[in-house]
């Protein structure tokens, strides 16, 4: 049973954690694509700066002496999300909205978003340097070791508190988003505009408001994803820039413009990455006594060497684009 628990630790838990972060990032990208029809590269910088906002707030909270049973990073998350949403609105106002008013093509907006990425990355590095920071300098990261000896395992199931909270928070966010998109008037307007912007406008939907709401949701979710990633690993200026491509892969695999597709794509890519670098020889070890002598299990049976973990996402992306270019859920086609 030890092997099975090892499998759960290595694949299920880390896959779920990675998947929730990818999913939250991909929802923002896919919503922006659905409404504004361009691939928003600066989303990674929204995530990173959201994480830094949360970090500063957490520092401020702990300097005020606030101490709670859950990590401060999660306590300040709602405030940081509001600030990040405002930041996203400001970026749209300052950089994308003038170009849209001029009637620029989506490609121009894409290039502009790269300009924004560079500027924000420069600013973050200007203020925070290139080093890494941790949310857990003043507090300890609680680690739960679930004893599984009743299953006959010698190893415990290991989950850290941030990881557990992360999955819970992701589920809450996704359910809230689902109800927003299906039940509220504004959410329905958003889906209508993603379907056909001109038709939505002539049927009296306030498209400017929908655009603003899109940026608010995208900014808040990006902040959430960035903060949770920083809570799981460490906070550094290229935190999200390194994973923006798997996030795009998740959005495309799920079908650009499809919020549910982005969630499915995020978890698919997350699990695919952890499964492909998982060393299967450990799981096969119990078979040793069953197998005849002439078959020996090699020491390393990972499908892909660990160095190539990120390339798995691109392989999935390329295969998806070849086999089903609109993604799993039928995505936007224009």
């Amino acid at each position: 049973m030890t092997e099975f628990i090892f499998f759960l630790n290595q694949v299920l838990i880390s896959g779920a954690v990675l998947g929730s972060i990818y999913a939250l990032g991909a929802i923002g990208i896919t919503l922006i694509f659905g409404i504004l029809r361009f691939a928003h590269f600066a989303h990674s910088e929204l995530m990173t700066s959201g994480a830094f906002i949360a970090f500063l707030l957490a520092l401020w909270f702990s300097s005020m002496g606030v101490s709670l049973p859950i990590p401060t990073g999660f306590v300040v998350l709602p405030i940081a999300m509001v600030l990040a949403a405002l930041l996203a609105l400001g970026i749209d106002k300052g950089f994308y909205s003038p170009l849209r008013k001029r009637g620029a093509r989506p490609v121009t907006l894409l290039i502009a978003s790269i300009g924004v990425t560079l500027m924000m990355q420069g600013l973050v590095r200007l203020f925070f340097g290139t080093g890494s920071y941790s949310f857990f300098e003043n507090e300890s990261k609680a680690i739960y070791r679930i004893d599984t000896s009743w299953l006959g395992s010698t190893r415990p199931l290991v989950v850290t508190q941030p990881q557990l909270l992360m999955v819970v928070v992701t589920i809450i966010a996704v359910v809230a988003l689902h109800f927003f998109l299906t039940r509220s008037r504004l959410g329905k307007a958003m889906r209508a505009m993603a379907d056909n912007a001109d038709l939505a406008q002539v049927s009296g939907i306030n498209t400017a408001l929908v655009v603003r709401v899109t940026w608010i949701i995208a900014g808040a979710l990006a902040c959430m994803a960035g903060t949770m990633l920083a809570l799981d690993v460490t906070l550094k200026p290229d935190l999200a820039f390194n994973i923006i491509l798997p996030i795009f892969a998740a959005a495309i695999v799920g079908g650009l413009g499809q919020a549910y597709g982005a969630i499915a794509g995020g978890f698919l890519i997350g699990f695919a990455e952890t499964i492909s670098v998982f060393n299967w020889s450990i799981v096969l070890r119990p078979l040793k006594s069953v197998l005849p002598d002439w078959i020996s299990i090699p020491g390393n049976l990972a499908l892909v060497p660990t160095e190539y973990k990120l390339t798995v996402a691109f392989l999935i992306l390329v295969v998806t684009l070849l086999v089903r270019p609109t993604g799993i859920f039928k995505g936007a086609s224009s």
Partner: protein, 427 residues
């Protein structure tokens, strides 16, 4: 139009002279060589984006291929490798690869023997898996053996100019495969797919230690022209030797640039260029006129990538070190895009102008922001505030910010670039 271009180029010339007088001739001379190489790369992207409207965000991958090619061709021969079992083991890996490729191709034809639908898909997946395992079973021990016994494969010891050409050929081959896979995609998808592929190329080159020495880096890579050290042996003074050697390298690079520029300008003004613009502006109309849009786009993607491969090779042999970790999307993909957009997509003079200008801005933004920070720090301390800590490290980060600022300003106020495309119309 011409007057405007001349003014801009004259301004650029003055800027370079200014940089030269402030930062010194040795520094400026090496930046000029790099600027020439970047001009070639920007021309490559200009073919793809300016002529063909193709969204290639994988410039970094092609630069790495060029760098690898020149390293492989021009680095001295490694006798340890050729004397060991390495070549034999690599040969077996190659055979395994060929068998795998053959199996995959055979599976694609399996419908001829009556395997259809879901069975064919299952067979294809199975065959891919078997082919992958066959290849891994041969390449893994070969890689481990070479790394343990010989370090890495080494080079072939040929003149670097052939390395540059090989870089172009290698980039062309990879571009052909990428183009076959991705060119049917829409612009956004193409952008992300090419970024993904360039990241795959980076991961491969970084981790194939047996072939590229990976993070251990390869140096010194020889120059095609005499090195400063060679000239010093001839009795020249240090500084003069350095400048002469770099001028030699610069002249060779400019020669390559001039040939490329001449050829693509000819092609652009000919029927081929008109066809490409027609495809870019309205591919549906072009297709209905009987143009094979997919093949023409593949053609242009390959041509552009050749220039990128050559440019990447020139950059690596100039710095004499091939370090896969030094390749970053910002420094090697996005900056080229800024060059082409700011200079003027679709105009070769614009691309070259943009390349030199942006490279100079990239270079001077660090000392410039250091000066600004120093002044600010001086003022803040003189009125009793805290000074700015870590000015050196901070001003190095300003380069990225300035790059982003330049492109956002350009998109806002000069969306067609400083030297925009000229469209000739018959009266």
């Amino acid at each position: 139009m011409i007057r405007r271009s001349l003014t801009l180029f004259f301004g650029l010339f003055v800027l370079i002279l200014l940089i030269g007088s402030i930062l010194g001739a040795p520094f400026t001379s090496s930046r000029l060589v790099e600027a020439a190489a970047y001009s070639l790369i920007a021309l490559g992207l200009n073919i793809q984006w300016g002529y063909g409207g193709l969204f290639n965000f994988g410039v970094m991958g092609f630069l790495m291929l060029g760098g690898f090619a020149v390293t492989f061709m021009s680095y001295p021969v490694n006798p340890d490798f050729w004397g060991s079992d390495g070549p034999w083991m690599l040969g077996r890996a190659l055979i395994a690869f060929a068998i795998g490729a053959g199996l995959v191709l055979a599976a694609r034809q399996s419908h001829r023997i009556g395997i259809k639908g879901g069975w064919k898909v299952a067979l294809t997946v199975l065959v891919w898996f078997v082919a992958y395992c066959t290849y891994r079973s041969q390449i893994d021990p070969a890689a481990a053996y070479i790394e343990a016994n010989a370090g890495f494969v080494g080079g072939l010891g040929i003149n670097p100019v052939f390395g540059w050409l090989f870089g172009g050929v290698l980039a062309a081959g990879v571009a052909y495969i990428i183009g076959k896979i991705c060119l049917g995609l829409r612009t956004d998808y193409l952008a992300i797919a090419t970024i993904g592929i360039s990241e795959i190329i980076r991961a491969l080159i970084k981790n194939m230690d047996w072939l590229t020495r990976g993070t251990l880096t390869v140096s010194p890579i020889p120059w095609p022209t005499p090195l400063p050290q060679d000239l010093q042996v001839g009795g020249m003074e240090n500084l003069t030797a350095l400048l002469y050697a770099r001028s030699g390298y610069l002249l060779l690079t400019l020669l390559v640039l001039a040939i490329a520029f001449f050829l693509i300008s000819r092609a652009y003004s000919g029927p081929w260029g008109r066809m490409m613009r027609a495809i870019r502006d309205n591919h549906i109309a072009a297709a209905s006129m009987g143009k094979n849009v997919t093949n023409r786009q593949l053609e242009i993607f390959v041509f552009g990538s050749v220039l990128m491969g050559i440019g990447g090779g020139i950059l690596v042999s100039f710095t004499q070190i091939f370090d896969p970790t030094s390749y970053q999307p910002i420094n090697h993909t996005f900056i080229i895009w800024v060059m082409v957009i700011v200079g003027g997509a679709g105009n070769n003079w614009g691309a070259v102008f943009g390349a030199v200008l942006i490279w100079m801005i990239w270079i001077i933004s660090e000392p410039l922001s250091k000066a600004v920070f120093d002044t600010l720090s001086f003022w803040s301390t003189s009125i009793g505030w805290h000074d700015i800590p870590d000015i050196e490290a901070r001003s190095a980060q300003m380069r990225v910010f300035v790059l982003g600022l330049v492109i956002t300003i350009a998109l806002r106020y000069a969306p067609r670039g400083l030297i925009p495309e000229v469209v000739h119309r018959e009266k």
